[in-house]
């Protein structure tokens, strides 16, 4: 079963008066439970692809389906709802809210979701923090944590609302290799234990080794798509 699907997607960016193609006719389906790496050199269209998967951008042509809904017709607030309910995000530079503690950062998407009451949110957040192994850091601010710890908070934040899939844009780019492996191991564990679908971009061969599905793209097109 696919969680998100692209059909003949084209994405052009306007640079001055010229249309610069970033994605040129891409068809791809991400299946439930995938642990997929999107690999390719910089400028190959990785980030654009993730933005399309994340409903942060709309395609110039073609269709993007999330749970069989074409997102191209949706209005900004509806897209926000889709992101909120279906998609988790992990960013390269962690992007935590600096004035909120680890606990509050993880709680933030649940507050936006408006589904759970305070006690239920608290239960979910504490469990999530324990799952990513930083239960004891719940009351720390991002500035009081290491990069690896911050990225664990970010993973907890992405997973706490139990999304259909999690997008991670070069999740290990800003941390040292050892911590990077720990983070990837954690993501893998989450994928296996909770069944969460992960899509992450990377250009690091060592990171690609962790992936069970490896999609190489070049010049906005799929070069190879292999499962291990």
């Amino acid at each position: 079963m696919s969680v998100v699907k692209m059909e003949n997607v084209v994405k052009n960016y306007k640079v001055g008066k010229v249309d610069v193609p970033a994605i040129r006719g891409l068809t791809l389906s991400i299946e439930k439970g995938d642990f997929a790496a999107i690999a390719g050199p910089s400028g190959s269209g990785k980030t654009t692809m993730l933005n399309l998967f994340g409903c942060l951008d709309k395609p110039t042509g073609g269709k993007v389906f999330i749970e069989d809904h074409d997102i191209i017709t949706l209005k900004p607030d509806q897209l926000a709802d889709v992101r909120n309910e279906h998609i988790g995000f992990i960013f390269q530079s962690f992007n935590l809210i600096p004035v909120l503690t680890a606990f509050e950062n993880v709680e933030f998407p649940l507050i936006l979701l408006k589904k759970d009451g305070p006690s239920e949110r608290r239960k979910k957040v504490l469990k999530m923090l324990a799952d990513v192994g930083i239960a004891e850091l719940a009351n720390r601010l991002p500035s009081e944590m290491s990069g690896g710890q911050q990225q664990r908070v970010a993973i907890a934040r992405a997973l706490v609302k139990n999304p259909d899939y999690v997008l991670a844009d070069e999740p290990t780019a800003n941390i040292d290799t050892k911590t990077g492996h720990e983070i990837l191991d954690l993501m893998q564990a989450m994928n296996q234990n909770l069944g969460t679908t992960f899509i992450f971009s990377t250009h690091d061969p060592k990171v690609m080794e962790h992936a069970r599905r490896l999609i190489h793209i070049r010049d906005g097109q799929i070069e190879s798509d292999e499962r291990k």
Partner: protein, 406 residues
Amino acid sequence: MFKLALRNVLRNKRRSFLTGLSIAFAVMVVIFIWTFVSGVVTSLFNNYVTGSVGHIRILNVNYLKRETMLPLSATVPDYQRIITVARQNKNVTLATGRIKFGVLMDIKGKNKPVLGVGIDPQSEETVLGLSKKMVSGTVLKAGTSETVVGAGLAKEMGLKSGDILTVITQTAHGSMAGINLKVAGIFSLGVASIDNRTFFLSLDQAQQLLDMDGRVTEIFLLIKDPDKAVAVAAEIGKTLRSGLTVVPWQANGFLYFMMAIMRYIYAAIYAFILVLASFTILNTMFMAVMERTKEIGMMKALGMKEGELSRLIILEALILGTLASFIGAIGGTLLAYYISTVGIDYTAAFEQIKDVEIPLAYVYKGEFSWLTILTGFLLGALLAVLASVFPARRAANLDAAEAMKE
């Protein structure tokens, strides 16, 4: 969400502090000036009303044309009947006759024009309140050949209670007449133009002196609501015979200007000060949005809606603006309390300008009003919110993907 907004306000403490300070200061200044100006305006209005124009006056048509000359040839006859008629109007709270006449006093070889005013001491007590304004001696009593003299005038003429004041003047028919008045007391209304030039005597004595039996130069009225003076004057005018005219206080151009226009001018000044202060909010919120571009992009990516984002930014401005306005209002309240109890004493300044025509008081006090303070506070908070709308829209409209690239 409130917690997040509050912490965002505290994120850059020095900037928030300076922004808050400018708003607090503006609110404080506005409350202070407002209180003081209201006090000055009210004081001037009351002085004008009680000392000369009343809320409404009934005059001889010809008197009005030459009022500065105080012509005794154009007076109001049969005044007691007119007072009775005027009192029948349910808006009228007081009606009393006055005779104003000019006297040249010989002071140390120099002539000084002085104003004699014949009054009904009993009725005037509610207008002038002379019993509370006596510096020495006793109040004026009807039917006696006594006088009470303004403190400035008494000082200049070397008069004390018990002295005799000789008044020589022209009667209504142009002949000369004189009277010796015993100084019963010295009064000070706290208004330079009255205290320096006026003596009061009983109305019946003035009528006798000036040969004006049954006549007065004006009938002085107070009404319930001074703002309705024009309408009430018109009503009373219908009941009078020709030759008389009914003049509401608004007919005094200077006073009307002051009451009607000056308040608006000052209101514009208050608004201007507060708008200037709110520009600091505009600037601060813009900087906050710019600095947090990436963070705002991330929040949108997490599913925060445009409306929720603008509300967050506006809430931050509201917290800052409300807190700052509140502090400003406390400062303003203290200043307003000071200015309305102690006031500013202009006695020294008025020593230089003794003969001004405007009834300026020696000491000006503010008019303390919680409404003024509340309005100042609310305006401060409201403008802070208004100033944040534009930055908030900017934050809401940021493109999430673009914002996160930075």
